[in-house]
């Protein structure tokens, strides 16, 4: 249906995210969005599809990613690692001139990854990234970027990232997914997150959003300190559950509140449900999620 | 104790070493000398040999009995000999030499029966001679040339003397080289000789040839006190080398009867008293002296086991100015009296004062071998002493006894201290060890001859001279 009208653009190589972030920040300058190449000009999500074929992880970037996120270096890719490979395409979409909002300032609400089978570290896969239409939300509007990875014709991985653009809410919007009882989950571990974590994950993921890099740059965007990448927090949870994961599974998380750096957080988990909480107050949830066999 | 001379002390200071290197002075190192309780050899003993040698088992046995850290080349006969002798010998090939140090290199050359095989010496020593440790030892064992079975063998065996003497001159840092000629059948007589040559007891003996023949059976002895229960007569015992001989024989367990002229009785008693020995003050040139000595020893001790003819005098003058008194007194004290006393002690065969298995050791001198300016009298007497050893050897061997001589080179004593500086320095340095010896070095060689285990060591004159250039 909608896909029929979508405009597909095949990329030859992964876009560099540094330039995209500069571009992403431009809409914050008053009046800049009037310029044709600056995002923020449109009011609808464009039906663009970006593809990038033949993506392959190098051993070094995989090892570096595994180290930062706590995964054991294996011959298969963590499912969150493929998200990292798709992320530049997300950025390219959101910084396109026809995109209605600037990427900087969007809030990552939710991420759901489905791994249909483990992707071998040496395997080449094709990425396809597209957007879903805007949805109403109590605090503004949301949109979802859908990514898929295929090896040949075989779909091996899917990812749906939902972003919130804060604004006038819609009270009639559908409720967010049912709470999983994150406050009640039993304690598993305490993690000490260093001040440098945002820069380390930025280096291995390419996501160098200034809100993650340093307290000063974070302040410019209204955060008291730098905040941890949501996808790092998710990856860290997945690494903690690593030895229990089946070959095919879906891991779905909701980002509830930012994790300021440095800080200590609690990881809690039981029976496929997990959460990252404030160690002093179990009811303050940073992230909650589920893993289910797919 | 052992005291190095001033030059040796100076050369062994950091500044001294710099000066020595700059101007190319000789570099004597303080020689290691033996003290009771020392190991015979401290460090690795490498035992090699030419194929067909007959001493491998003996050498291994001695090495095992002294608890040496030994290695042998990986040749089947040598390895089997080590195994048979109970020697824990490490494996060795020439390639190993580069990383090793040797306290002693011992080579059985008895397998060499023609000059072509002398190359075995080069093959063994060439990679190792520069790896000999400070105060290390190089010992070659051959067959007594007169006891060989062919002309080629005799020539080849005689060649060993040149080899060891030259090798001795290449050794550095107090290391010494010796040749031991072993008569066929005397293989089991080597223990005392090897222990002496390998240990620091032979510190100042260098470039020497010792002949070992078949003696009577070697008794079991306590190597720490080989002379325990023995009585030793030492003439001229009140001072210098004589006092050192007395002390060394006493250390080895002997009861020492010190003898000196009545004028020196006080000094003599001081020496013998401190050693728990006894003093006999008389002039050996006196007509009654031989009989008195024999009677004293018979009466007090029932006989004597070791006789050391150490008493000697010098009365130097060039021959043209040599008067009769100087000549006669030197010949009398140094030679004629020695023969008379010896005769008195061995007279009567089975009832002789010299006990069965007795040991007579004479003190000759390097002057008796090389001659010395102004010492025609002295050199004559000391060469005569060597002749005396030659003359009596067979007689004594017949009664299970031995007679040998030491020929001291430059030994640091009160006597040498009076020599003018330039002459003294020349005497001190003109040897492979670039220093004078100490009285104890002479005494140790005498103790080796005196040992009950040295039954096969007879008729030798061994120089204690640091391989002096004189008369070499």
């Amino acid at each position: 249906m909608a896909a029929a009208t979508a405009k597909t653009r095949a990329l030859r190589s992964s876009p560099g995210t540094a330039g995209l972030y500069a571009k992403a920040a431009l809409p914050l300058i008053p009046g800049a969005s009037l310029l044709p190449f600056v995002a923020g000009g449109g009011s609808k999500i464009p039906r663009t599809v970006l593809t990038l074929d033949g993506v392959k992880a190098t051993r070094d970037e995989l090892a570096a990613y595994d180290r930062v996120c706590g995964f054991t270096l294996r011959d298969t890719l963590p499912s969150t690692f493929i998200h990292v490979k798709a992320f530049p395409l997300h950025m390219a979409l959101m910084t396109d001139g026809s995109f209605p909002f600037g990427a900087v300032g969007l809030v990552h609400l939710r991420n759901r990854i489905t791994q249909l089978r483990p992707v071998e570290a040496g395997e080449r896969f094709d990425l396809r990234v597209s957007t879903m239409p805007l949805q109403p939300h109590p605090k503004g509007r949301t949109f979802t970027i859908v990514s898929e990875a295929r090896v040949g014709d075989e779909l091996v991985w899917q990812d749906a990232s939902t972003m919130l653009r804060r604004g006038t809410g819609d009270k009639s919007a559908p409720k967010p997914p049912e709470a999983i009882g994150a406050s009640q989950l039993p304690f598993v571990a305490q993690w000490k997150l260093g001040e440098e974590l945002g820069r380390r994950y930025g280096a291995v993921s390419g996501d160098r959003n200034p809100i993650h890099l340093h307290a000063l740059t974070a302040k410019a965007f209204g955060f008291p300190r730098a905040i941890a990448h949501g996808m790092w927090t998710k990856a860290r949870c997945l690494a903690a559950l690593e030895s229990t994961l089946p070959d095919a599974y879906a891991v779905d998380v909701t980002f509830k509140r930012p994790v300021l750096l440095p800080s200590k957080v609690t990881f809690a988990a039981e029976d496929g449900r997990f959460a990252v909480r404030n160690p002093k107050d179990d009811t303050k949830i940073h992230l909650e999620g589920t893993v289910t066999a797919a | 104790m052992a005291q190095a001379d001033r030059y040796t002390e100076l050369i062994n200071t950091p500044i001294g070493r710099i000066v020595q290197k700059q101007i190319g002075l000789p570099a004597p190192v303080p020689l290691k000398r033996w003290t009771p309780g020392d190991r015979v050899v401290d460090g690795r003993v490498l035992i090699g040999g030419a194929p067909g040698g007959r001493l491998a088992t003996t050498l291994a046995k001695v090495a095992a009995s002294i608890g040496a850290e030994a290695s042998t080349p990986l040749r089947e006969d040598l390895r089997a000999a080590a195994a048979a002798a109970g020697l824990d010998a490490g494996p060795w090939t020439p390639a190993a030499a580069a990383t090793q140090r040797y306290a002693a290199l011992v080579f059985d050359a008895t397998g060499i029966t023609e000059p072509g095989q002398l190359s075995e010496l080069r093959e063994f020593f060439s990679p190792t001679i520069r790896r000999v440790a400070k105060s290390g030892r190089l010992v070659v064992l051959g067959t007594t040339p007169t006891a060989t079975r062919s002309a080629s063998e005799r020539i080849a065996q005689r060649s060993l003397e040149g080899f060891t003497r030259a090798a001795g001159k290449e050794l550095k840092a107090g290391a010494t080289a010796q040749l031991v000629y072993v008569e066929p059948g005397a293989e089991d007589q080597l223990d005392s000789t090897l222990r002496f040559l390998l240990s620091s007891r032979s510190a100042y003996v260098d470039g020497q040839v010792i002949r070992v023949g078949s003696g009577s059976d070697v008794p079991e002895i306590d190597w720490e006190r080989p002379l325990a229960g023995k009585v030793a007569l030492v003439t001229g015992a009140s001072r210098g080398i004589g006092a050192a001989i007395a002390a060394t024989l006493a250390r080895d367990g002997a009861h020492v009867v010190g003898l000196d002229i009545p004028a020196l009785e006080g000094d003599l008693k001081a020496v013998t008293g401190s050693l728990g020995g006894s003093a006999l003050a008389l002039d050996i040139t006196a007509a009654e002296a031989p009989r008195e000595i024999a009677a004293y020893l018979k009466k007090e001790h029932g006989g004597v086991d070791v006789v050391v003819h150490n008493a000697g005098i010098t009365r130097d003058k060039t021959l043209g100015r040599m008067d009769e008194a100087r000549w006669d007194s030197v010949i009398e004290v140094n030679l004629a009296a020695v023969q008379r006393v010896t005769d008195a002690l061995i007279a009567g065969r089975s009832r002789a004062v010299l006990n069965q298995g007795g040991r007579i050791v004479c003190v000759a001198s390097i002057a008796g071998i090389a001659g010395n300016f102004g010492q025609t009298n002295y050199a004559t007497s000391k060469a005569g002493v060597i002749g005396l050893v030659d003359a009596y050897a067979d007689t004594l061997a017949a009664r299970g006894a031995t007679i040998n001589a030491v020929a001291p080179g430059f030994i640091e004593t009160q006597m040498t201290a009076k020599i003018p500086f330039a002459t003294r320095e020349a005497g001190r340095r003109m040897n492979s060890l670039s220093q004078g010896g100490l009285p104890v070095d002479v005494a140790e060689a005498i103790a080796y001859f005196a040992s009950p285990a040295s039954t096969g060591v007879n008729g030798n004159t061994v120089r204690v001279c640091g391989q002096s250039l004189l008369g070499a």
Partner: protein, 425 residues
Amino acid sequence: MTAGPRSVAVIGGNRIPFARSNSNYSKASNQDMFTAALDGLVSRFGLEGERLGEVVGGAVLKHSRDFNLIRECVLGSRLAADTPAYDLQQACGTGLQAINLVAAKIALGQIDAGIAGGVDTTSDAPIAVGEELRNILLDANRGKSTQDKLKPFLRLRPQHFAPAPPRNEEPRTGLSMGAHQARTGAEWGITREAQDELTYQSHQRLAAAYERGFQDDLVSPYLGLSRDQNLRPDTSLEKLAKLRPVFGGKDGTMTAGNSTPLSDGASTVLLASEEWARERDLPVLARFVDAETAAVDYVNGREGLLMAPAYAVPRLLARHGLRLQEFDFYEIHEAFASQVLSTLKAWEDPAFCTQRLGLDAPLGSIDRSKLNVNGGSLAAGHPFAATGGRIVANLAKTLHENGGGRGLISVCAAGGIGVVAILEA
């Protein structure tokens, strides 16, 4: 309690291919590699979620944070999380000793099944700060006030920042293992030609073992490697002869070819009582019969650093009333070709055997066609603690393939240690 010791079965093994230092596994930690080898073993024998008696292993080069390395690996693996584990370290003997300890517990009936192995990385090696900087940091840490904490830093000098990497040398002699073996090899007269010949044979035999699929159920691919990276099927005696000596000076005989390279890798072996194996319908490749550990005093130079196996073997033979010749296979760890050849020569030497080993006669020579028949460390590489597991799995399968027999394992280790074992099928 059961009466008497039980028979211990070697069920199988799994390892990752061994990589050369700073190559494919340069970014992999010990934990990554051992977990990979362990998970491969778990899936090979269907042990997912099983609680085993224990998992034992270790690494020679280990970060201080890895104090519980093997337990961490178990927790990251698909074994049940309530499988206990412990680390041990005995230099290059680590792997075989770990196997011995698991076997002993099985024999005693303390456990029914366990996994043992080892791992090492020379790429991701721990780097310590120099001793001076370490003291400054410790002093600063001890300071109570801010001033006390800052004051020690005034002592900092640029040279303090030079890292102190782990050193491949014996603490008491300051010599590298290769330098030690160069001395031993020279003493035993081990020639360059003999070393190169053994090296060539090692490569040929390992290559052949891969070709005929022998390694298929012993090795699982990892990070882009499916065979040992050091393996050179195309090497030749001519090529080996061209290499320059790396130990023993310019006249040395030990080269980068006939010495094992620094390597990264991990290995595991599954051991169990025969009953446990039967219940699960698992194969029994061989029985782990016994092991012996010896050490030599190499410090004073009386014995070679790597000669301890030469002492351990006769003790083990005596315990079982066996002669050295009564084996169908010999697996002698090829730390250096020179080490293997020195050991064999020592066993033929009358002086060594009577005086050092206290035997009546030499142990004698072995049939060299039975030595390291499927290749050895010279070809496979030698990630220190991982070698024992490689050898045990290899020999167990070799015996099984042979339809029975007896095999002898010998592994030399730093510190003058040697671990040896007997397997039977």
